[in-house]
Amino acid sequence: MTEKKTTAAQRDGTDWQPRIVAFLCNWCSYAGADLAGMSRNDYPAAIKIVRLPCSGRVDPMFVLKSFERGADMVLVSGCHPGDCHYSSGNYHARRKLPAFRELLGFMGIDPRRFKISWVSAAEGNKWSSLVADITEEAYALGPFQEFPKCTAPEKTG
C-alpha cells in the first residue's frame, strides 16, 4: 500500500518530499514505531521522529517551531486515552492540542497539517499505515510555504 502511494508521488515528476515532524511519546507511540520497524513494516521516510517522555510534554511551541522551520506536517501521537504511562499526560494533550489546532488557522496554517493520533506500543501496523496515510495527505496538501521568511534567521542562529 505505502509503496504504491510513494510511487504515485514520484510519478508527479518532482523531487519534493514532504517533511513531517512527529512528536511521539516514549511509551506507546515510539514503542509502536519501534515495533513496526522490528516487524519489518515499510512506511514512508518522510517522517522524522522526536521522542518525548509523554504526549503531555508537547509544548505548542514545538509545533509552531516545526512549521516555522518548514515542516509540511506535524504529528503528535501518544498512548490511548486511559493508558498513559504517566496516568494523565495524554489527557492534557487531548484537551490542549485540539484547542491549539483551532488557533492554527489564525496563524495562517492549514489545520489539516496538524495531526493528533493515539498509537500503542503493540500497534506497529497501525503506526505504519498511519504514517502512510498522513504522508499521502501531505503530498496532497503540497509544500507548506506560508512561513518561508521565518526560517532564514533561525538557520543561522
Partner: protein, 609 residues
C-alpha cells in the same frame, strides 16, 4: 483445678468440664454418639456411660454430661460399663442395622447382634417427600441435628415429634420447613448420616458449582479452592455463605476445634510497598458457544479441552474416571476439534495461533486411550504445529501408533442422533466428507487473556495489545519487562504459551525482579524535572497537573529565617519525568532533564534542516 480418679489414674479437670473431658486429658477413649464438642451435652445415647465407684452417687452415668467433681472415682470400662455399653449398642443396632458407626462400635465393644425385633423408621419425612429418600433408617435419635439447629444455628427447623418408641426427627407439623436455611449443620453432626436437609427444606438448597472443576460437581461455601492449593487451607465464599446472606448459621465458627474461623472479620485493603511486580494473570479459553455449529452449551457431551482435562483428572469431579457428562457412561468414541477460534482472520475468533492446542490434543488422545482402552479417537486439525523439543516426535507417535486418527480439515456441524453426537467434517487429504458418530467432542478453544487483565494493566500502567495480551518492553531484547520500570510479565498473560515457555519466562521475570530489589539504592531515571527557583513565581499550576504529587510548596528563607517566597519543589523520588508541569509552567521555570526545551528545539531544528 478439680482432681479425680479415672481408671486408677489421677485426672485433672477445670470447673465446667465433664468426665469425658477429663478422660480425654488422660488419653482414655470413651465412645460417644450423641455428643458433639460444640453442642451442650444431653446424655441421650448412653454409649458413653461410665461407672462412679466413689465420691458420688455410685452407678452408671453418662461421661459426656456428668460434671467432673472433686474426688470422683470413675471406671470407664468396668464390667458394668461394658455390659451396659454393649447392650446400648445392641439395642441401637437392632433399630439401625445399617449404621456403620454402630457396626464399628459393636465390633469394638463386643456387642453381638441381639435377636430383637425389627427396626423402625425414625426420621419421618415431611409431606410431599418421596418415600425412601435419604437414610432415615439410620437415625438413632441422638438429637444432635435437632440441638444443633435449635441451639447453635437458631432456626429450629427440625424437632422431635412423638414420644418413646414413636419419637421421630421431623419438621413441625411434618411440613416442608420454610425456616430451614439449608446450612447442612444437621447432616454434619449426624453420627450415622441419616439426615439430609434437602429432604425437608421447603426451598431448594442451591448447590454451588465447583469453579475449579468447571461446574462438573458442587462445593460448599467453605472449600479448598483446588487440590494442593498453597496454602492448603479452606476459604470461605461470602457470596454463598448462609451467615453472610441471612445472618444465621455460624456453625463453622462454633464447630471449628481450632477456633480458626472469625465471621466478624472484614475484607481489608492491605498496602504493601514493593520494589517489583510480576504480572502472571494467565489465560482462559474462548467461549466456544459462539460457534453454533458445534453445539457447545447445548449438548452436554461437547466439552472444551479444559473441561476434558478436569474430567480425566484423578482429582477431578469423577476421580479420574472418564465419563460422558450426559449419562455417566464411558465415551467409546471421541472427536477432538482443534483451532476452535484460533487462526481465524474474520469472525468471532482470534487471528493468532493458540500454540498449545496441538500438543495438548495429542496428550489428550493418549490420556483417553489410557482411560478407555477400546475407544476410538479422532482429531480434526488445520496444521499440526509441533515446534519444540521432542514435540514433533510426540505428535508423530500419537498418529503413528494409532492412538488417534488425524483428519486434516474442519468440522461443519455437530448434531445429536440416537444418543450420539454426529460430527460432520471434511477430510481434505482424502478429499471427502466424513461423518463420525461420537460419544464426546472436545473443542480446543482459543487461548485468550484472563478477564480483568486489561483492567489490571491500566492500573499498572503497562500496555497491552488488541487481544488483551500484555506487552513486553521489547519483543526481542526485553521480553519479560514492561515499559513501566519494575513491572515484569510471566506466562500466558503475555501471549499463548505452553508450560516450558511459561516457566522460562517466569524464571526470567523473577531474576529481573530480584535484580531490582537486591540493591540498597534504587537507580532512577535521570530524566526528571528541576525547578528554576530564580524564575518560579509560586503559582503552583504545576502542582495541579502532577499525577504523582511530586510537586509541593517550598519555603525560601532569608538569612534571618524569614520566609521570603514559596516556590515549587520537585521530589526527585516521585517525579517520573512526564513533563506535564513543564508545559503548564508559564514562566518556563521547570525543565525535564534530557527533554529540556532547548534540547527539543535543537532537535526540531536539526530534523527540519
Amino acid at each position: 483445678m478439680i482432681k479425680l480418679h479415672i481408671d486408677g489414674q489421677e485426672a485433672e479437670a477445670e470447673e465446667g468440664q465433664t468426665i469425658l473431658d477429663a478422660a480425654k486429658g488422660l488419653g482414655i477413649e470413651i465412645p460417644t454418639l450423641c455428643h458433639h464438642r460444640a453442642i451442650p451435652p444431653v446424655g441421650a445415647c448412653r454409649v458413653c456411660v461410665v461407672e462412679i465407684r466413689d465420691g458420688g452417687r455410685p452407678g452408671l452415668v453418662p461421661a459426656c454430661a456428668y460434671p467432673a467433681q472433686e474426688g470422683l472415682v470413675v471406671e470407664t470400662a468396668s464390667e458394668a460399663v461394658r455390659e451396659s455399653r454393649s447392650m446400648t449398642i445392641q439395642l441401637l443396632l437392632a433399630r439401625c442395622p445399617e449404621a456403620e458407626v454402630l457396626r464399628k462400635l459393636a465390633e469394638q465393644w463386643d456387642a453381638p447382634p441381639l435377636t430383637l425385633d425389627a427396626p423402625l423408621d425414625h426420621v419421618e419425612p415431611p409431606k410431599g417427600v418421596p418415600e425412601g429418600a435419604g437414610d432415615r433408617d439410620k437415625c438413632i435419635l441422638c438429637g444432635l441435628c435437632v440441638r444443633v439447629c435449635q441451639d447453635i444455628i437458631g432456626p429450629a427447623a427440625t424437632a422431635f415429634a412423638g414420644r418413646g418408641i414413636e419419637r421421630k426427627v421431623t419438621t413441625p407439623y411434618k411440613l416442608l420447613s420454610d425456616v430451614c436455611i439449608g446450612c447442612g449443620a444437621c447432616a454434619l453432626v449426624c453420627p450415622t448420616g441419616a439426615i439430609d436437609p434437602a429432604e425437608f427444606c421447603s426451598h431448594s438448597i442451591e448447590k454451588i458449582p465447583n469453579e475449579f472443576n468447571l461446574g462438573f460437581d458442587t462445593r460448599t461455601p467453605i472449600h479448598l479452592p483446588f487440590p494442593q492449593a498453597v496454602p492448603n487451607k479452606p476459604i470461605l465464599d461470602r457470596e454463598n455463605c448462609i451467615h453472610f446472606r441471612t445472618g444465621g448459621c455460624g456453625a463453622c465458627e462454633t464447630i471449628c476445634p481450632a477456633g480458626a474461623i472469625d465471621l466478624e472479620m472484614e475484607d481489608e485493603i492491605v498496602e504493601e510497598e514493593v520494589g517489583a511486580i510480576i504480572v502472571a494473570t494467565g489465560y482462559e479459553l474462548l467461549d466456544p458457544s459462539v460457534y453454533e455449529e458445534y453445539g457447545y452449551g447445548r449438548y452436554p457431551d461437547v466439552v472444551t479441552s479444559l473441561e476434558f482435562e478436569r474430567l480425566v483428572s484423578a482429582s477431578g469431579p469423577t476421580n479420574g474416571e472418564l465419563t460422558r457428562p450426559s449419562n455417566g457412561e464411558p465415551p467409546k468414541s471421541i472427536v477432538f476439534l482443534q483451532c476452535i477460534g484460533s487462526r481465524e482472520e474474520t469472525g468471532p475468533g482470534k487471528p493468532y495461533c493458540s500454540k498449545i492446542c496441538c500438543m495438548y490434543t495429542a496428550k489428550h488422545a493418549i490420556l483417553y486411550k489410557h482411560k478407555v482402552h477400546d475407544g476410538q479417537a479422532f482429531v480434526f486439525f488445520m496444521d499440526v504445529r509441533a515446534g519444540g523439543k521432542n514435540y514433533e516426535e510426540f505428535v508423530r507417535r500419537v498418529s503413528k501408533e494409532k492412538v488417534a486418527t488425524y483428519l486434516r480439515g474442519r468440522v461443519s456441524k455437530i448434531f445429536p442422533h440416537d444418543g450420539k453426537l454426529v460430527v460432520q467434517g471434511a477430510d481434505t487429504l482424502s478429499g471427502g466428507q466424513v461423518e463420525i458418530a461420537a460419544d464426546m467432542v472436545v473443542l480446543a478453544a482459543a487461548v485468550v487473556p484472563s478477564k480483568g487483565a486489561t483492567e489490571l494493566a491500566q492500573k499498572l500502567r503497562i500496555s497491552y495489545d488488541q487481544h488483551g495480551f500484555l506487552s513486553e518492553a521489547h519483543p526481542k531484547l526485553r521480553p519479560v519487562e514492561t515499559n513501566t520500570a519494575g513491572i515484569f510479565l510471566a506466562g500466558a498473560c503475555h501471549s499463548a504459551k505452553d508450560i516450558p515457555d511459561s516457566v522460562a519466562q517466569a524464571s526470567a521475570a523473577a531474576s529481573k525482579a530480584l535484580g531490582l530489589v537486591v540493591h540498597d539504592r534504587l537507580t532512577r531515571e535521570p530524566t526528571i524535572g528541576i525547578v528554576n527557583e530564580l524564575t518560579c513565581n509560586g503559582c503552583f499550576e504545576c502542582e495541579n497537573v502532577c499525577a504523582y504529587g511530586a510537586i509541593s510548596p517550598k519555603d525560601i528563607k532569608d538569612r534571618s529565617g524569614a520566609t521570603v517566597a514559596v516556590l515549587a519543589n520537585i521530589n526527585e523520588g516521585l517525579c517520573q519525568g512526564c513533563g506535564a508541569c513543564m508545559v503548564t509552567c508559564r514562566s518556563k521555570s521547570i525543565e525535564v532533564q534530557g527533554y529540556t526545551d532547548n534540547q527539543l528545539f535543537s532537535e526540531i531544528n536539526a530534523i527540519t534542516r
